[in-house]
């Protein structure tokens, strides 16, 4: 059963949310899911670019009331 962890990077500017996600990814196990919250719109588009570049799995992005939720699965 995969663990899901929430990383709250609301209020942080680029590349703060990406760095917080990567720090959490380093601690996570393969198969774990991380949901990152960001109020920085640039990060909401840049984080999926990073996920594709380093070949993890982007499971989706949703905006709820000005907060972007990006879900990623650690694949390696």
């Amino acid at each position: 059963m995969a663990n899901r962890r929430l990383v709250d990077a609301r209020g942080s500017f680029c590349p703060g949310p990406l760095m917080e996600l990567i720090a959490a990814m380093k601690m996570a196990e393969v198969g774990d899911e991380i949901e990152i919250l960001s109020t920085d719109k640039g990060s909401a588009t840049d984080i999926p670019e990073w996920i594709h570049k380093v070949k993890h799995e982007h499971m989706g992005t949703q905006e709820k009331e000005g907060v972007w939720h990006v879900l990623v699965k650690k694949t390696h």
Binding site: G11, S12, F13, C14, P15, G16, L18, M19, I22, A23, K26, W50, K53, V54
Partner: protein, 129 residues
């Protein structure tokens, strides 16, 4: 797949230090081999205990501070810790300022000469700030 990114930082203003730190950290965590070379007015900010804030060139620099963007020092450290970037003080600037290795922040490597930096930078992208 791995590309080399060489970043030369010589300015002591917050906008340039911030952008250099963004390129170094995002580049390093995206699978690139990043080398940063710190010289001229950039180096004193990496002295241990340095607490003089970098001056702003314009409006953006003031906003970076007011809106609490991630501090450039923290981004450079993340580049090393999360992305294995190598950050070197310029050996000439170390001599001019009279700094020893013990005087600079611990995440910097040994002082690097320009010949070696240029040789390492001969392939890949080169950015200067």
């Amino acid at each position: 797949m791995s590309n080399r990114i060489s970043v030369m930082v010589i300015s002591g203003t917050i906008e340039r230090l911030q952008m250099a730190a963004m390129v170094a950290s995002v580049g390093a965590v995206s699978g690139n081999e990043v080398t940063v070379f710190l010289s001229m007015n950039a180096l004193p900010f990496f002295r241990k205990g340095a607490n003089t804030p970098a001056p702003a060139e314009g409006e953006m620099g003031k906003l970076l501070v007011a809106k609490k963007a991630p501090p450039f020092m923290q981004l450079f450290e993340s580049a090393v810790e999360l992305g294995d970037a190598k950050i070197f003080p310029c050996s000439m600037a170390m001599d001019v300022f009279g700094y020893e290795q013990k005087d600079v922040v611990p995440f910097l490597g040994e002082p690097l000469g320009l010949t070696k930096f240029l040789d390492d930078a001969s392939e890949g992208q080169i950015w200067s700030f």
